[in-house]
Amino acid sequence: MSDVAEHDQDHEHPEARAARDLTASRGRIVFAGLAFAVVYAAVGMKLAGLGMASDDHSAALASGSTQVSTARPDLLDRNGEVLATDIKSSSLYAEPKRIIDVDEAIEALASVIPEMRHDDSVRKKLSSKAGFVWLKREVTKQQRQKIFRLGIPGIGFMEENRRFYPGGALAGHVLGTVNIDNQGISGIEKYVDQESGLAELRAAGMSTDRGLEPRRLSLDLRVQHVVRDEIKDALQRYHAVAAIGIVLDVRTGEVLGMSSLPDFDPNHAEQALEKQNMNRATAGVFEMGSVFKTFNSAWTLDSGKVRLSDSYDAASSLVFGSQKISDFHAKGRSLTVPEIFIYSSNIGSARMALKVGSEAQRAFFEKVSFHKKLETELPEVAAPLYPKRLSDVSTATQAFGHGISVTPMHTAVAGAAVVNGGRFLNPTFFPRSREEADKIAVPVLKPETSDKMRYLFRLNNTPGSGGSGSKADVPGYLVGGKTGTAEKIENGHYAGNKRFNSYLAAFPMDDPQYLVLVVLDEPKAEKEVGAATAGLNSAPTVGAIIRRIAPMLGVMPRYDQPKPIVASN
């Protein structure tokens, strides 16, 4: 048997044996391969599962960070002082899914923020299935530190930007406000968003955090403060309803200071919604009254049909049907053009305007933007109201600033054009160099006319000339200006006891650099003075502003200038 077996074995072909072995080992290799594949597949699936699982947490954080208010560029004044900035604040959030024990978490949190202990909303939030909930926006640094040390799982902090205005109400109307998500909703804040495309970026779901260049404004913090301080003083002293102050650089059209009282603190944006806190300087239109005699004198003199030496009858009132134009400071004789200006004669101004004609008046008013909104960065600009039809009556009344309503800013920029050599410049709230200003300036008056107007301005302000603006004079600074005392319209009639007083001034008059406009709405007379005309309230306010801002703006006082002489007949 054994022989047979041996024989059998011996007789098995070596190749066949190798083939049998190969088949067997191939099976084993395939088995081992499959086993490994299964193990790796299991590992891979577990990995994928882990990847999915960790996504939960980051998704929660991502949903939170879209709610975080984004960074905004700082706003600086022309000297680099901060007007608006972002400050970081921490907000406390929770991821309820990751909280192990709600009671323990609340107990721990309450040890730092005691009011959380009995707050049901906190418990409700933490017990919910939500991925992300805010527990408290803007916690203090100390609280943050303490909660951090407690190390509660599922509780964390997120850094948020909050807009902060160190000056408070100082420049509220210029800067505007932002909403809770740090988006500009009014003023320069809104303009900055639109201009830089921040609003679109945010709408597309992208938000930037760093690398926002601070924006420099043309505003001067110190000038802004002086303007606000002085008009606030005037508002209280004369019991006015509202007060407006504007300081312009007449060579560039830059706004150095603009304040409208009552105003609001942009740190409390809700105050901006109150109606009495509106920005009257650019978004309110008013009949400016006698300051318009400035423009009336300018365009009539510019036409060449009226000369400084001409005189007009101001003794008799001007009658148009049922309407009668008479003078407030009636002189009862004919007046020369400079006298019409300094005594603020309505009749004389109307006669000057009628002599040159309605068409020329309309053309000039169009050139100085009195018929359209001002082109400036501030979104809050109002359109003027003016008579659409040309008539002698409207020409006569517009000559002394009635029957046309413009914003105080309109008045200021037109005033700047009158004194700066007749070049009209739209106002800007961002720095503008002289060269840039020269490029965009629109000539509206001849330079000679501007010279004559400067003479009239200075004459009106010189003490002893009888001019209405002598109370605005500051020795050394050659102030020149024009008063305006307009009666306010009430129920369709001009109310004699409610006035709208303004004073438009520029200095130094031989080479005007800055313009100051102060407007007081319904000022009352001081007890000892007895009258409430612009020469007694707006003019001294302008004088006080110039006295303080001129040294800041580097205007040297000079005392060697000759006094202008009254050209009287």
Binding site: E81, K88, G167, R547, R548
Partner: protein
């Protein structure tokens, strides 16, 4: 021969593995350090921003004005008057004459510009300096160059500006003499 090469290669591989291991950990340490520094920079930036905000809050003209008004009796800071502004040309030259015959130097704040109406105002700063410790008496070294005002400061009550009045210093010798 072959064996020697193999040993060499194995050693090289081990060394290589060691170096890579070390590099990897070094890179990790560096990354952690970078992250830490980045966080620090971030924190510093935020601190800078809030300090800047605080600085501008403390430097608000409104606040400074209130402070000068409140401490007016001590600081004696008055609003700048246009007549107090001048250039170097407005300052008179030192008189050439020497000794006793020299005319007395002006006392108090000097009005550089003289408009038609001149109302005398005295400098508050001299008084202030006198109140500083060690600033009394004859010592010409510290306050000697600042003339003492003749009478109490009589500035106007207009709003403030933080500009000190211009005081033209007397020559030290002269001041020492007048103080004695």
């Amino acid at each position: 021969m072959l064996r020697a090469i193999n040993i060499l290669l194995v050693v090289l591989m081990l060394v290589g593995a060691g170096v890579v291991y070390d590099l990897k950990y070094e890179a990790e340490r560096a990354t952690a350090k970078v992250a830490k520094i980045t966080r620090k920079i971030e924190a510093e930036r935020d601190a800078m921003a809030s300090l800047k905000a605080e600085w501008s809050l403390l430097n608000q003209p409104r606040r400074l004005q209130d402070l000068t008004e409140r401490y007016h009796s001590y600081l004696e800071l008055d609003p700048l008057d246009p007549t107090q502004i001048g250039t170097l040309d407005d300052i008179p030259f030192k008189p050439a004459v020497s000794g006793e015959s020299r005319p007395p130097a002006p006392k108090g704040s000097v009005k550089l510009a003289q408009p038609e109406k001149s109302s005398e105002k005295n400098a508050g700063i001299g008084k202030l300096l006198d109140r500083l410790p060690g600033g009394h008496g004859d010592g010409p070294a510290t306050t000697g160059s600042v003339p003492k005002p003749s009478a109490g400061g009589g500035g106007g009550g207009a709003p403030m500006m933080l500009v000190p009045k211009i005081v033209v210093p007397k020559p030290a010798a002269e001041a020492a003499k007048s103080n004695r």
